[in-house]
C-alpha cells in the first residue's frame, strides 16, 4: 500500500506541475465534440439524437491520446527499470499509474461532460446518467489503456499503433456507456447498462494489471 500511495502522489505531483498536459487533453475533448455540430449542422433534433454517442467517442479519443503519457516518460528516463526491480509488486505500480491517469484525465472529462451535453443539445433527462456512466466507465478506459501503453513502449509510431490495439477493447465500454444514456433518455431504466459498466470496470481492475506488468517487464529487458 505504501508503494501505491507513494507512486500515486508522485504522478499526481508531476501532472500538477505539468498541468498543460491534462488541459490539452481536455481541450481536445472539447474541440472534438464541437466539430460535430459544425459538421452535421445545428439542427437541434439531430444533435440531440447523436449527443450521447459523440460525447462518449470524444471521451474515448481524448483518453487514448493521453495514454502514452502513462509510461513513456518513465521508460525514457530509466524510472521504469527502478519500478520493475522495486520491492512493491509491479501490478500495484500499474494500478497506481492507472489511478493517476484517471484522476488527471478521466475526471476532467467527467467534469466537462455536462458542458459538452449542452453543446450537443442533450435532453435534460440524460445528464445525470451520462455523468454516472462516464464515472463508471472511464476507470476501465485508463486500465485497458495501461495495457496498451505498456505494450507499445519502444515501438516506432507507438501512438497510432496504440489506437489500433486499444480501441477494439474499448468498444464494450462505449456500447454500454451510450446504451445507458439512451435508456435514460427513453425513460427506461439504465440500471442494466450501468451495472455492466461497473462490471467491466471491476473486471479491468482485477485483470488489466497483470498483462500490463508483463509488458512492462518485457520493455525493460
Amino acid at each position: 500500500m505504501n508503494g501505491f500511495g507513494a507512486l500515486l502522489r508522485r504522478d499526481l505531483k508531476l501532472a500538477y506541475r505539468q498541468a498543460s498536459d491534462s488541459l490539452t487533453v481536455l481541450a481536445f475533448f472539447v474541440l472534438a465534440t464541437v466539430l460535430f455540430p459544425l459538421a452535421v449542422g445545428p439542427e437541434p433534433a439531430i444533435l440531440a439524437r447523436i449527443a450521447a454517442g459523440v460525447v462518449w467517442v470524444a471521451a474515448l479519443l481524448a483518453a487514448m491520446l493521453s495514454m502514452d503519457r502513462m509510461f513513456q516518460s518513465d521508460y525514457d528516463d530509466g524510472t521504469l527499470e527502478l519500478l520493475v526491480i522495486a520491492p512493491a509488486p509491479l501490478e500495484l505500480c500499474v494500478l497506481a499509474k492507472a489511478t493517476a491517469h484517471w484522476l488527471t484525465t478521466g475526471v476532467p472529462l467527467i467534469v466537462a461532460a455536462p458542458l459538452m451535453g449542452l453543446f450537443l443539445n442533450l435532453d435534460t433527462g440524460g445528464y445525470a446518467t451520462l455523468l454516472l456512466a462516464l464515472a463508471l466507465g472511464t476507470p476501465s478506459l485508463s486500465l485497458i489503456g495501461a495495457v496498451g501503453a505498456a505494450l507499445v513502449l519502444g515501438t516506432r509510431r507507438g501512438g497510432a499503433l496504440l489506437s489500433l490495439l486499444i480501441l477494439p477493447l474499448f468498444v464494450p465500454v462505449l456500447i454500454f456507456g451510450v446504451g445507458a444514456v439512451e435508456a435514460a433518455l427513453t425513460d427506461v431504466s439504465a440500471r442494466p447498462q450501468l451495472l455492466i459498466l461497473a462490471a467491466l470496470t471491476l473486471a479491468a481492475l482485477s485483470l488489466a494489471p497483470w498483462p500490463a506488468a508483463a509488458a512492462l517487464r518485457q520493455a525493460v529487458e
Binding site: 505494450l151 519502444g154 499503433l161 508483463a214 518485457q218
Partner: protein, 238 residues
Amino acid sequence: MHRFANPTRFVALSRAVQPWAAGIALATLLAGLWFGLLASPPDYQQGETVRIMYVHVPAAWMAMFCYTAMAGASAAALVWKHAVAHVTARATAPIGAAFTFLALVTGSLWGKPMWGTWWVWDTRLTSVLILFFLYLGYMALENAFDDRARGAKAAAILAIVGAVNVPIIKFSVDWWNTLHQPASVVRLDGPAIHPSMLTPLILMAVGYTAFYIWVLCLRVRADINMSKVRALKLRNAG
C-alpha cells in the same frame, strides 16, 4: 508438446504432416463442395442462397479457432518459453485474419438477399469485426519492434488479452436479440440442422482445418528458415 520445442524435430513433424494435411484438405473440400453445391437440398425458406452457409460458417468457425490457437500458442510461449510456440502464433495470425475477412465478406453477401442489407451492427457482426481488428493489431504490434523477440512477446500478451472476445462472439447470439441466426450446430441440445446439410458443413469445416494445418506447416518452416538465414547473415557480417 515440449518434445517439439526443438525446431528440428518440429520441422521433421511438419514435413511428415504436411502432405497428409494437403491431401485431406483437397479431398474434404472437394467432397464438401460437391455435397454443398450439388447434392444437398435447398432451404425451404432461403432457396439456393443457403449454399453460402457452406463457405461462411466454416470460415467463421476457423476465425475463432485460429484466434484460440494463437492465444494458446502465445500462452505456451510466455509460460514455458516454448521455442516454436511464438513461431506458430505468428504464422497463424494472417491465416486467421484471412478467415475472419472471408467470414465477414461471405456473411455480407449472404445478408443482402436474406436480410436486405449488406451490414448490420448487431453483436455477432460487431464482435467478429473486433476480432478482425485484434488480428490486425497483433500483426502490427509484432512488426513494430526492431527487436523481433520483444515484438513476439508483446504480441503474445496482446493475443491473450484479446482472447476474451472469442466467448463473446460465440455466445453473443444467445445473450442478445440479434439479426444473426442463433446457434444451430454447437449447442447443448445438439445440432438442429438436418444431416443432409450437416454433412457438407462438417466436410467443409474439416477441409478448412486441414487447409489451415497445411498452410501453417509451410509458414512455420518458412519462419524457421528465415531465422536461420538471419543468423547466418549476422555471423558472416561479423
